[in-house]
């Protein structure tokens, strides 16, 4: 068995590229779709997620601290998943996205409450996705009055009245003004890329079968992997053009901040483009007609929009939905894009998501190769 032939790959690639540029629909799809979607989705989409993972740093071991923590838990919005020992640990949990909130109860909390000396607790929220934090933050407003109602009796009863016994200081990190567009627009990059790329390539093999050209193609010595590479390569270019276009619009129209993380972002984009293309190719080996291929790509788009954390906060979804979401590349891509653009995270921080994308690419390519028929049987 000889290896891959560059000539044969180029044969398919040049043909595919020529066909692509000859089809006017291509241009509409590449440029018009991002514009329409950016305008449509630029509006806020809200949800009311509960039980959001929360890390706490408790430096005070007095009763009031414990009661306050209990009240926070009882609000239903916060699920304490980590107990940090240092400020650094707490910061890390928030930065890497393990938790949505980081709560600090300072060492002098109980003492200040007793003295009536402006006690505070600090709540830091990962506001990259403001719709995920909005309601939880609102719920904190009633916390000071409720938390210590049972504790402030006897000589301390006076502290229970106005002014409230302590104050909650909320810091919104990463997206301090809670601009929904900051979150939606990078997410749109994932949605638009998968829509165009999966849809366009899912027609690839199916079209050859429908037009009868597959019979000629199979009669030549070209190999499956060569067909796949040749057919997909032109669309890598399409994906990159769209990426630049969308990010440009995001900056121009919405002023989305770009904190860096360019290495992780580029890697994520490349992996995501490859994964989407391979998926499209896989669908096109399964579909019998172009119409079927279209339907399959739409079917794939539904969970990509609804369960990936694009439309609704990932953490607000029930477990089964999160499990499905974890299988979808858009989910991981969104984490990379938001992490890199809004938080400036690098490859070393985002490797779980990047790794998931890589696994997706490999699995889908393997499946596509297994599905691709070299005969008409």
């Amino acid at each position: 068995m000889s290896g891959l032939s560059l000539n044969r790959i180029m044969a398919v690639l040049v043909k595919e590229f020529t066909q692509l540029t000859r089809d006017r629909l291509t241009y509409a799809l590449i440029l018009a779709m991002p514009i329409v979607q950016l305008l449509l989705f630029g509006y806020a989409i809200n949800g009311d997620p509960r039980n959001l993972p929360t890390a706490v740093l408790v430096q005070d071991n007095g009763t009031f601290a414990r009661s306050t923590l209990g009240a926070i838990r009882n609000s239903g919005y916060f699920d304490i998943t980590e107990v940090a020992r240092t400020t650094a640990e707490l910061d890390e949990a928030l930065a890497l996205g393990r938790v949505q909130f980081a709560i600090t109860i300072p060492a002098d909390f109980t003492r200040r409450v007793v003295r009536g000396d402006r006690a505070t607790i600090l709540v830091e929220a990962d506001a990259a996705d403001p719709s995920a934090t909005g309601n939880a933050v609102a719920a904190l407003a009633s916390l000071p009055r409720e938390a210590l109602r049972h504790d402030l009796t006897g000589p301390l009863a006076a502290r229970a009245g106005a002014p409230p016994p302590f104050e909650v200081v909320v810091h919104r990190r990463y997206n301090p003004e809670a601009v929904t567009a900051y979150n939606i627009v990078p997410g749109l990059l994932g949605v638009i890329l998968s829509m165009t790329l999966v849809m366009m390539t899912s027609l690839g093999v199916t079209r050859e079968y429908e037009r009868g050209t597959m019979e000629s193609l199979l009669a030549t010595p070209v190999r499956p992997l060569e067909v796949m590479i040749g057919k997909l390569a032109p669309y890598v270019l399409v994906g990159l053009i769209q990426t630049v276009f969308i990010l440009g619009l995001a900056k121009l129209l919405f002023g989305v901040p770009m904190q860096g993380g360019w290495g992780a972002l580029s890697l994520g984009i490349i992996l995501f483009i490859m994964g989407s293309l391979a998926l499209g190719f896989l669908l096109s080996t399964v579909a019998r007609t172009q119409l079927q291929a279209m339907q399959m790509s739409f079917f794939y788009m539904l969970p990509s929009i609804l369960l990936s954390g694009f439309m609704f906060p990932y953490r607000g979804m029930p477990d089964w939905a999160q499990a499905i979401g974890a299988l979808i590349p858009v989910t991981h891509f969104l984490r990379v894009v938001r992490g890199a653009l809004l938080k400036g995270l690098g490859v070393s921080d985002l490797w779980p998501s990047l790794g998931a994308l890589l696994v997706f690419v490999l699995v889908v390519v393997a499946l596509a190769m297994a599905r691709y028929r070299t005969t008409l049987d």
């Binding site: 000539n7 044969r8 044969a11 066909q19 000859r22 199979l218 009669a219 010595p221």
Partner: protein, 305 residues
Amino acid sequence: MTLAVDVSGLDKRFGDKHVVQNLSIQVETGRITGFLGPNGSGKTTTLRMLCGLLTPDSGEGEVLGLDFRREAERIKRQTGYMTQKFSLYEDLSIEENLAFVARVYSLPDRRRRVTESLERLGLENRRRQLAGSLSGGWKQRLALAACVMHEPRLLLLDEPTAGVDPKARREFWDEIHALSAEGLTVMVSTHYMDEAERCHDIAYIAYGRMMARGTGDEVIARSGLVTFRAEGPGADRLSRKLADRPGVAMAAPFGSALHVSGTDRAALEAAIAPWRRDPLRWTQVEPTLEDVFIHLMNQSRDNFA
């Protein structure tokens, strides 16, 4: 003599349809073999199995001296296959289609090969025209040019002239004979009698079975058919009356004349006796290939269908 194709015991089923049944075929190098038979008799399926596009359920043998089941890849490199339905890219130009083929076969000197091919076709001036906008005859010639570009040793043509006008068909056949003269082996399926007569050899299959094999003359001689021709006023209108009589295998009008055939001379003569008088003139003639084919078709229908 060497055999370009030598396969035996070929079988192919689609579901419970047994489309090709225990078929064996030998083709001598350098000859043009016409592949005939009614629609759905398995011609396309057989050609596809020979070039590795379909996997036979059983069957052994060699194509171009290579095991046709195990070495499909190497056979593909030396075989040109022209599909029944036009299968070049209609949204690519003539030149782009040829360039694609040249690349896929990794041909050296690609530009020169494409230009030569265009010149041979007489399409240099229309090289940028989209293949989809060509007329039927030109499409067929382009498809032929595309499948001989890599200089194959075996050419499989599946009804290459269906729906093409007579002049274009003649030119197409001139081209096939020119290629054959250069040593190429050709298998071509067709429904046209004049094309069958242009082939060196004929293979007639019906319902997936080989019914007749050999040169045109051999096929006629082996059929054992006796044919009478009637001429005169109203001769062509007798066919229906004669067709059902014992001893008559078939009766078919040929223009204003009538051909009546059967395998048993005595029975046939008895059948036509009532009309063997003025104003009709009867003569015994050589059966034509068409007579033989229609006869074979009727026979196989009675036996298998």
